[in-house]
Symmetry: C2
Subunit: 235 residues, 2 copies
Amino acid sequence: MSGRRERMNQLVARKIGTEILKGERPPGSGFRGEIEEADAWGVSRTVYREAMRSLIAKGLIESRPRRGTHVRDPHHWNLLDLDILSWILSDEPDPAFSGEIFELRAIIEPAAAAMAAQRRSDAHLARMEDALNQMERAGLATDEGRLADRAFHAAIFDASGNNFFIALSAPVEAAVGMTTRFKQENQAEPRDSLPDHQAVFAAIAKQDADAASRTMAKLVTLAWDDMRLAVGPRD
Amino acid sequence: MSGRRERMNQLVARKIGTEILKGERPPGSGFRGEIEEADAWGVSRTVYREAMRSLIAKGLIESRPRRGTHVRDPHHWNLLDLDILSWILSDEPDPAFSGEIFELRAIIEPAAAAMAAQRRSDAHLARMEDALNQMERAGLATDEGRLADRAFHAAIFDASGNNFFIALSAPVEAAVGMTTRFKQENQAEPRDSLPDHQAVFAAIAKQDADAASRTMAKLVTLAWDDMRLAVGPRD
DNA sequence: GAAACCTCATTTGTATGAGTATATAGGCAC
DNA sequence: GTGCCTATATACTCATACAAATGAGGTTTC
């Protein structure tokens, strides 16, 4: 996948971060001293400290002289960080988790689409159209097609003009992609979502904010339904 | 304010991070080598590297052997990180920025309130009530009252039961607090927002999701109006 | 002449050992 | 008990050395 080999400090950060997110290191629990801990991981204190520095920056832990290093309350975790998301979804996709991400998406994306309808430039529109064409050409069964799908949604977020929505774009779409990737593999004949996308595009092109919101809400809802169907009926 | 003295690595991270966010170090621009840069900041290479490790974790920069260290595209910046928010708002509150944060809030909070109405426990409700009483007793002119205000909104986010909304709570409320703090100081007779809060509370208590959404939307809109009025009419 | 390969220099990454700063706990005087 | 002091554990900072990665440019090979 990623061509460059992972560095030691990243590896340790990922390992410890994953332990925290999986609950193996509960909030409030402490770490041993740096020398001891670094030794246990088979790395130098330099590497161990840089790894911890990353986790501190993501809100997972905090450390103070004399008190030691402790896992912070989940309330402080930067859940929308891309690394943290990938650490959470490292093994199997949790159904509860994907439900929550879709719930967020169902709120964010229609609003972003409405804003995009009002503020989009021609350049934004062109990006969306390119993405749609790419989706049609490649199909959603291919990596290329899914990439185009993400590009379409990213273009909408960008067109919203709101930097916070833009910042939300990457983690939300990434999480959705991660939780639905296996869906495409399992589902025999996935529903064709291209018409839904085209309806959103048309609304944004017409600068019809209301229609953009409605069509996007429908798109997300349908995707959500597909997801639930693929993951197996539970409720 | 914060009792503990800031460590060197945090200080350097804050300084450089602020330079990036203020545009003094544009995306794509590179840093000098570690030895040279650390020397310029008057710290050891260890401290400089740990500072950079924090900025990497927040998505502001990236570094690779031989290529050096560069500012990443704003698209990758973790804008909802509490540190980054405080760095952005370090000197004067930008009106465009506060407009965007209110725009996000106007989307997120009504949805959170609706979800809270459906899922809140009695404990959540008690927290909201306590916060309301505290607001009434202390008044929004005091730090204590504003703290209670934040607690009220935080309780709603928690009651939503969605971890992503909970994760959004802290940065959104913090940013709102930062941009509106000076409003309370400047505005001679700020509007009493307590009734708006009580209406939201009543709707959540009744488990009326629709009313919760509507009352919260109203609350945010009114706060937004106040904000625009205080910051001076622009449009 | 083009392509694969190799060498080298530059930059970040890792290791180690020493010393400093800071906050907690416990003792001591009052 | 209350306030102050001291000891100590822990993270923080420093300096130096070496290792690994990578991009550039030259070299061989066909």
